[in-house]
Each structure stands twice: as structure tokens, then as C-alpha cells.
Amino acid sequence: MQALQRSLPGARAGARPVRPARRMVACTATARPIPRATNEQKLDLLKRVECFIFDCDGVIWLGDKVIDGVPETLDMLRGMGKKVFFVTNNSTKSRAGYMSKFQSLGLDVKAEEIYSSSYAAAAYLESINFNKKVYVIGETGILEELDLKGIRHLGGPGDADKRVTLKSGEYMEHDHDVGAVVVGFDRYINYYKIQYATLCIRENPGCLFIATNRDAVTHLTDAQEWAGNGSMVGAIVGSTKREPTVVGKPSDFMLKNISASLGLRPDQICMVGDRLDTDIMFGKNGGLTTSLVLSGVTTEEVLNSPDNKVIPDYVLAKLPDLLTVKEMAMVAA
């Protein structure tokens, strides 16, 4: 019986080099260790910020369990009139699809509060008045969101069983009306889809290449890491030698989309996440207020390491720590 190869999420965090952030934010020397937010700072945060954007894994839930105190915290924020959004780079489900996950975890959310990268792809196409067809490498979440925006599509799960035989003289036809290829996480990726997408991008004039996200790995289970959309997107970059427009984290499309729809200034929006190099960096690049929680992959040690240059505005052990100022906040509101 062969030995099992396992790795725990976050165990590798220090073990291999992290892809460097695309834009480095200049930072002045900061006193270490960076303290956890005081009650005064928590009240300040609640006063200044009108909208909270939450990364899900490590902030709201860990695997399939909601972090204790999160539902009450969300109730408090909503009770204060704050807007909340839940962001996920996983495009396999639509916003409506994610709602059932939230509900099964006992979290009361509306579909419009969920910002999945599947929704981001459709919202991006809508924002540029796209009116052609889309070839999809990805799962049903993307197709559902395109349907909701009335955008025509081909590919997706329907091409999962297609095969290429390469008999002598084989020729693959492709739809010349495809004006964009959208690539999202696809557990049914195959050569047919790769070739079809490649033909569209290379031969249809002006064809867009859109990626929902480029995460190298995705946390489908606690026991090991799984090849993420960075792999599917990599394949198409490899065959077309073109770089995609990324609509999910850490691109700023999603932030611009949210702040435009709410009419808020960036600093009135707080990004709450557990990863310095994606969530916090992402928030800082967008000019948002940022809060790191220590309930996910980042430890206090990593935060305070001299190698870390990403300094969040606030640090909380976990999101429900905001509940300690609930009474004072409700009075002030």
C-alpha cells in the first residue's frame, strides 16, 4: 500500500516562494509586532466603512464549517446599515448556486451579496456592451451567469466528452461569431476545448480572452491542494501566446464594479481577508481599507516577519472580534 501524500492548507505557505504581487505598494517602516485592533480602532472601522467585502475561506468559514460568531457579526453589520459582499474566485457555481451553500451553513445571504468570479465574467462582458457569442471553458456557474445577462454561449460542460482523433486531414470547424473565450476552473478540461478556444482566439478578429481567475491551486478539500484555474488559463496562454483579462481577484474589475454600483469612495469599503498577498494586496491596490483576520492561512508570525511588506489597516484574530464593540457601535450609529 503506497504511502499517502498529504499536505494541509497553509502548511506550504512558507515552504515555497509565493508568486510576487504584480504591483508593490510603497510602505513606510511599521513598528512590529503589528497590534491587533483595539476597541477604539474597531469603532473607528465601523464608523468609517459603509461596505465590507469578505473573502470566504478562512474568514466566514473554514472548509465546511462556519466560524463561530460570524452569523451574529453579519447581523450586527446589517443592523448598522452596512452593505456586505462575499467574494469567491471559484467560478464553478453561479451566485444563486453559492447561495445554497451559504444557506446550508446557516448564513442568511442574498444572491446579490455574493460576488463570484463566474458573475464577474458576465458583469465584465455586460460592462463593455458585448453582443457576440462566448466560448466557455468552465462549469455551469459561468453558463448560468451568462444566461442571466442574456449572453449567448457555446462549450462548457457540453464539450466535456468531445474527443479529437487527428485522423489524416482532420479539420476542426469553429463558430466565427465567437467574440470572447471565457476560461474558468474546469474539472473536465480536454484537448478539444483547448483547441476550440485556441482557434477562436487566433482566428476570430478581436476575440477577447477572459479568465475568471488565475489561482494556481484551489482548496476543494482540507487534505490536499488541487490544481486551480491557473492551470486551465495557462493552457490557453501556452497555445495562443496571449495574456487574458482577469476579472476575479486580484484584478480590480470586481472592486470597481462594486464601488460603482454603491456610489462609495474606495476607503469607505473594507476588504476583509486572510491572505496578505491576495486579499490585502488586492484591497490596497484598489485604495480600500483593509482588515486581516488570523482565522485562516496567515499567522501572526508571518504578518510580523521582516519579509512581509504588506501591512493591513486593521488586524483581527477573527471577524466576530468586532462583536466586542457591538453595544458602543449601536449607540453611536
Partner: protein, 258 residues
């Protein structure tokens, strides 16, 4: 004229013997020893490192054949073509062979998520696990009527998930030229590469101090070659390899044609 002739292809899907058989069927005398494939290069490279572990193969039968011929035990390849992760399991799970010491990637028209995940797991679990790319061509003429996504696709997919860079063995890396010149004791400057692709064949020869000749019978047109955007200049170019025959009557009598 006693010139040594070798046939070099980046396509890893057929073994050297299969390529030789194809040439012979087309009326060109060739044996396996005259052929270099990027798959042979990957296997030969591993032998130089005294590799004694297993290779996880993202590739087709030809790549498995060349690794096996070099005495390297393989996992994956065509055997993993139809494999899927069991997503109906609430805790899906993948085990990898702990003896895999290298992931070797070539063109794989049966690429699937199972293989990507297996390769990624081998590479991220062990920083000592090698990542070998036979070639990184973005596309190739696998059927006469169209270009098809090449090995560059599979390699880039695994770079995307493992965040590791591979060692490249095929053109334009130097390995094949180094191996060929060393094995047959030919000085580098007495070699000329004749090819139709600027970014593999011609770049390969130029970067490795061999002569280069671009023929226009393949993917590169005269317009592309002469365009000011083209930075890869061969020493010579001609419409086709057959143009060498035009100088045959001009060769000195002392030159014997066999």
C-alpha cells in the same frame, strides 16, 4: 558527399523508431539512430543525471517508449487518458506514487484534470521532483489542413498550477545539439540546421553556434522572414531543401555522390 544527416523533431508523440519508419515509407533512408525527438532528449537527459526513480508522464505513447527504452519506469502516460477524480465522493482524494522523481511533459492530446492534478501534486509535494518539458511549441501541424494546440499548452498548464518552471530539452534548448555533436564527434561550427520555424529551428541553431537555413516550405513565409518585426535571422534561406540540388552540377569532380 559523405555528409552526416540527422532528423530532429520536437514532436514527442512518436518514438525515434516510429519516425524512422515514417521517413522510410516516404522514400527517405533513415534509421532510429539518425532521428532525434524531444522525447528521446528528455530520456537521454534523465540518464545523464543517473535518474533512478519513476517518471510521471503527461504525454503519449512515444514519450513512454523513449523513457522505457532508457530504462526509466513510467507512471501515467496513455494509461491515465480516461482517468477521472471521483467527484461524487464528498471528500475527493488523489494519491500519487511516492517514487515519482520527475514529471515529464510532452504533447498530450488526452490531457485531462486527473493528469494535471497528479503532475501538480508530485511537483508541489517534493521540490526535488524534477519538471522536464520535452518542448514548448504553442502549436503544430498535426493534420495537414490546420494547426493544433501544441505541447506548450500542457507545459504551461502545469506551470500555472505548480508555479514551477520546467527544464526544456527540445528545440531551442541546446541539449540535442550538444548530444548529437558529442556522440558523433562533429564540431559545432560544421553543423547547419535546416528548418521552417524561426522560433524553434532557426533560433536553436543561432543560439548554439550552428549554421542556419530557413526553408519556406513550412510555416514561415518570405514576408514573415523579411518583416522588420522578425528578429530571428538565419544565415541562409531558400524556397525548399531541394534547392541544394541546383549546385550539384557545380560540385568538383573529386566530390563523390553515393
Amino acid at each position: 558527399m559523405q555528409k552526416k544527416v540527422f532528423f530532429v523533431t520536437n514532436n514527442a508523440t512518436k518514438s525515434r523508431a516510429a519516425n524512422a519508419a515514417k521517413l522510410t515509407a516516404l522514400g527517405i533512408t533513415a534509421t532510429a539512430a539518425d532521428v532525434y525527438t524531444s522525447s528521446f532528449a528528455a530520456a537521454a537527459y534523465l540518464k545523464t543525471t543517473s535518474f533512478s526513480k519513476k517518471a510521471y508522464v503527461v504525454g503519449e505513447q512515444g514519450l513512454v517508449d523513449e523513457l522505457t527504452a532508457a530504462g526509466i519506469a513510467c507512471v501515467g502516460g496513455p494509461e491515465h487518458a480516461g482517468k477521472e477524480v471521483d467527484w461524487s465522493n464528498p471528500e475527493p482524494h488523489m494519491e500519487v506514487d511516492p517514487e515519482v522523481g520527475a514529471v515529464v511533459v510532452g504533447l498530450d492530446r488526452n490531457i485531462n484534470y486527473f493528469k494535471l492534478q497528479y503532475a501538480t501534486t508530485c511537483l508541489i509535494n517534493g521540490s526535488s521532483c524534477m519538471f522536464i518539458a520535452c518542448n514548448t511549441d504553442s502549436r503544430g501541424h498535426f493534420s495537414s489542413s490546420q494547426e493544433w494546440a501544441g505541447a506548450g499548452t500542457m507545459v504551461a498548464a502545469i506551470i500555472g498550477s505548480s508555479e514551477r518552471e520546467p527544464m526544456l530539452l527540445g528545440k531551442p534548448a541546446s541539449f540535442i545539439l550538444d548530444h548529437l555533436c558529442a556522440t558523433h564527434q562533429i564540431p559545432r561550427e560544421k553543423c547547419i540546421v535546416i528548418g521552417d520555424r524561426l522560433d524553434t529551428d532557426i533560433l536553436w541553431g543561432n543560439q548554439n553556434n550552428a549554421g542556419t537555413c530557413c526553408v519556406l516550405t513550412g510555416v514561415t513565409s518570405e514576408a514573415q522572414l523579411l518583416s522588420p518585426d522578425n528578429k530571428v535571422q538565419p544565415k541562409l534561406y531558400m524556397d525548399s531543401l531541394a534547392e541544394f540540388l541546383t549546385v550539384k552540377p557545380l560540385l568538383p569532380a573529386s566530390c563523390v555522390i553515393m
